[in-house]
């Protein structure tokens, strides 16, 4: 493992839980590695599998999706849908030469800042073990390329 490899991770966080947990981590001055760059969505149910693939294509070494615990979804059950989609996507990833471990879904409530920090640290370590992602995706896999 390359000791000084710092993975690039995209965090796709639900506006109502994990994003707030990240805010709380801030206001409580907790410290965690800077690898995760957060993109906010209203619900983990908005996280489009293609968005995740796009992240990998743009050079992400890992993607962390954060949603509300089951039963806590602000939109009743968006997190269930995210769960199913990501389950499927994880099975697809190997065919694209991406280790499924590079995609992680976590339920982190607005109060669980400490857990968020732990998850981020742990995920970073996990990706460091895997090393940088070197699997260019075939073009046709990607439709949504911004104009």
């Amino acid at each position: 493992m390359n000791e000084d490899f710092e993975p690039r991770i995209v965090g796709m966080f639900c506006n109502w839980c994990t994003y707030l947990a990240a805010d709380l981590a801030g206001t409580s001055r907790m410290k965690y590695p800077p690898n995760v760059h957060v993109v906010r969505t209203m619900c983990s149910g908005r996280v489009d599998p293609q968005l995740i693939l796009w992240a990998f294509r743009c050079g992400a070494d890992g993607v962390l999706v954060g949603g509300c615990h089951f039963g806590d979804c602000h939109y009743q059950e968006g997190n269930h849908k995210a769960f199913r989609r990501i389950l499927l996507l994880k099975q697809l990833l190997p065919q694209l030469g991406i280790e499924p471990e590079r995609l992680r879904l976590e339920w982190i409530s607005a109060a669980e800042a400490d857990r968020l920090c732990a998850v981020i640290a742990d995920f970073r370590e996990q990706i460091r073990q895997l090393g940088p992602l070197r699997a260019p995706l075939e073009e046709e896999k990607m439709e949504h390329v911004p104009a």
Partner: protein, 665 residues
């Protein structure tokens, strides 16, 4: 797609990086980030400023919009949950659509959580870059506006709920006050005196309780529980279950003759209100000042329900008023309200969880709440402070922090125990002349007049021993201890262990979330802290708001607090609800979805997915159609749509894809 919204072809972006004093600047090289931003595509100007949210900061933005003809604004500062709204208004005031704004969170998500400056600066740059790429795709939008139902639902009839209900009712708003117990009043109704002024709880509470009953704008629903909540801010639909009390409220006059008439000549069942210290009949009112003053029949203990055979003394006593109705069934009400105030309160810590204090093992170990009843004139002993065997205690030990400040049980300080312990110490000393010992870890008397009250007790020669009690038991090591309860403690100020024999031990139990707080939280779709207290939107700036618009918090369901604080918070919650209702309409984030008929393949995947049934399938056009009024903007249909026909404002695919590309570029 963007061009169908009339956005100028060439974006002109202004980027404003905030120092937030040193909050950001101490860790992030703001100058470097600004410099970096100024070279990003379409960025016309990039500035740093000490406090962008300040008036001069906002002025700066407005000026630039006008002079530099900006058509996009980015502010890199704190969390959007804090200031997104502020800066949208600024953008609007500058003369462009407020939604052509994007916020970058480089405080909570960067400067406060990153050790290394270089790394923090790099992360901030990436996030700014992402915003620049994203904002390019932003469209002009108008907030969605909906009418608001003028009624308010208040859940919980303790002092907080009562005060909130009255405040709203006095403002000519109609309030539904739902209480689970047969009477309103909550914990405060159990208290004798209130600290630090020692005015009698009943004397100040009962007028408010009767006012609730009498108020034309309040519908009081006791012995009832909320069972379902849906809808959204301004338009909540609530289902309330009314448990049968077998006495019809509208017919009952509150003469209570039915209770005298009951076949059971004397009360024999432990009274819930008296915490088992007193007894009640199967038909009873929890306490004399109960509101509504309407008896309840407890089917568990009523002989008619048990055996089917009973002379029905209560019915005879009620006579032609015929208020008693054994066939009463559970009733379900549907309410429509614009706002909801949760005042569901707390429960006291179960002292049995700490066996070494002997609660439940030694009869003369009481909880503080039990003692509140003992000292209460309308309590089981008529205010006489006597032990279970009738003796008057000569020495009393009050143990603080039972189930508070303890990693083994509850970590938090319950805030009220020090003061109510002082109050009980005073009352006991005053009425029995007993020697009273307080065992405390730290005396916490930070309220108005609290420290003075502490001083008063010192003058009354109450003993204060700094030390958390080790154990309470009946082991007499020396003859003088025979027949006593022995409190073993280290007197930490003197630094030696002491054994103190007493007749009565009072455990100052802490406050904790209601047993069913978790279910209630889910029911109303709000968040709670890890401990189970309902979570406010912001600890300082939005203390009574929740993350669900239109649902507000009052009293101890949000965290331990005393009566003044609960009342103040209830007032604040009422004001928030009032502001919402008086406006008459709510503006919602225009983050709703739409389906582009052109691209829709009619697969109907979205139809099944939508949790709010906002999407239906148009059979002849063979496309899905989305009803914006019902859409709440979760975007799950967008994520599912295989043809990209479903899109969500503020979270367009282009915007998200650009943002992701941006953070990684």
């Amino acid at each position: 797609m963007p061009n169908e919204h009339n956005v100028p072809a060439l974006p002109r972006i202004g980027v404003y990086v905030c120092h937030c004093g040193t909050n950001i600047a101490a860790r992030v090289d703001v100058a470097a980030v600004t410099e970096y931003a100024s070279h990003l595509p379409y960025v016309s100007v990039a500035r740093e400023y000490k406090y962008v949210c300040s008036d001069p900061g906002q002025e700066l933005i407005k000026k630039d919009i006008e002079e530099l003809k900006l058509n996009r604004v980015i502010v890199a500062s704190c969390s959007p949950h804090l200031h997104e709204h502020t800066f949208r208004l600024t953008t609007q005031a500058g003369g462009i659509n407020p939604y052509l704004f994007q916020m970058v969170n480089i405080r909570e998500h960067v400067s406060w959580v990153t050790e290394d400056s270089a790394a923090a600066t790099a992360k901030a740059k990436a996030l700014v870059r992402a915003a620049v790429q994203r904002v390019v795709f932003h469209e002009e939008l108008a907030p969605k506006s909906y009418p608001v139902h003028p009624q308010v639902l208040v859940v919980g009839g303790g002092i907080a709920g009562i005060h909130a209900a009255l405040t709203l009712a006095n403002a000519a708003k109609h309030v539904y006050l739902v209480e689970r117990e047969p009477s309103i009043g909550g914990h405060m109704a159990k208290f004798d005196k209130t600290f630090p002024t020692l005015d009698c709880a009943a004397c100040i509470l009962t007028p408010k309780m009767t006012a609730v009953k009498a108020h034309p704008n309040i519908t009081l629903l006791t012995y009832s529980e909320v069972t379902r909540v849906d809808g959204f801010v301004g338009n909540y639909r609530v289902q309330v279950k009314r448990k049968p009390r077998y006495v019809e409220e509208n017919k009952c006059l509150g003469c209570l003759e039915c209770i005298t008439g009951c076949v059971y000549k004397d009360a024999r069942y432990p009274s819930e209100f008296e915490l088992g210290l007193g007894k009640r009949k199967p038909i009873y009112v929890p306490f004399p000042q109960a509101v509504p003053l309407v008896p309840v029949i407890d089917a568990e203990t009523c002989i008619l329900f048990k055996s089917g055979k009973c002379p029905k003394g209560c019915v005879k006593a009620c006579g032609d008023r015929a208020a008693i109705n054994f066939d009463q069934k559970e009733e379900v009400l549907e309410l429509e309200v614009g706002a909801i105030i949760l005042a569901t309160g707390f429960q006291t810590f179960d002292a049995g969880r700490l066996p070494f204090y002997g609660y439940g093992l030694y009869p003369n170990v009481y909880t503080s709440l039990e003692v509140e009843r003992l000292v209460n004139a309308s309590g089981p002993t008529g205010g006489e402070i006597v032990l279970r065997d009738g003796r008057r205690p000569k020495r009393v030990g009050i143990i603080h922090c039972v189930g508070s400040r303890d990693d083994q049980t509850n970590r938090w300080c319950s805030r009220v125990c020090c003061m109510y312990s002082l109050k009980l110490a005073h009352l006991i000393k005053e009425r029995t002349g007993a020697e009273v010992y307080n065992f405390y870890i730290d005396m916490r008397t930070p309220g108005k007049g609290f420290e003075e009250f502490y001083q008063r007790l010192l003058d009354e020669q109450v003993h204060f021993i700094r030390g958390r009690v080790g154990e309470v038991n009946d082991w007499a090591a020396i003859p003088e201890e025979e027949g006593k309860l022995i409190i073993r403690v280290e007197d930490t100020l003197i630094g030696i262990a002491r054994r103190i024999p007493v007749d009565m031990v009072i455990l100052s139990v802490g406050l904790e979330p209601q047993a069913d707080a978790a279910e209630v939280r889910k029911l109303f779709n709000i968040t709670s802290s890890a401990e189970g207290w309902f979570l406010e939107r912001h600890p300082k700036l939005a203390p009574v708001n929740t993350f669900s618009d239109g649902i507000f918090l009052a009293g101890c369901c949000q965290g331990p607090k005393d009566i003044p604080d609960s009342v103040a918070q209830a007032g604040a919650a009422a004001a928030e609800a009032l502001a919402l209702i008086d406006k008459g309409c709510v503006e919602l984030e225009p983050n709703t979805a739409w389906i582009d008929a052109e691209h829709c393949s009619g697969c109907q995947a979205c139809v099944a997915l939508c949790p709010f049934t906002a999407i239906r399938f148009d059979a002849e056009r063979r496309v899905s159609v989305l009803n914006e009024a019902l859409c709440k903007g979760c975007g799950t249909c967008v994520a599912a749509c295989p043809s990209g026909a479903a899109q969500q404002h503020l979270f367009l695919d282009e915007e998200l894809f650009a943002e992701v590309e941006g953070v990684l570029a």
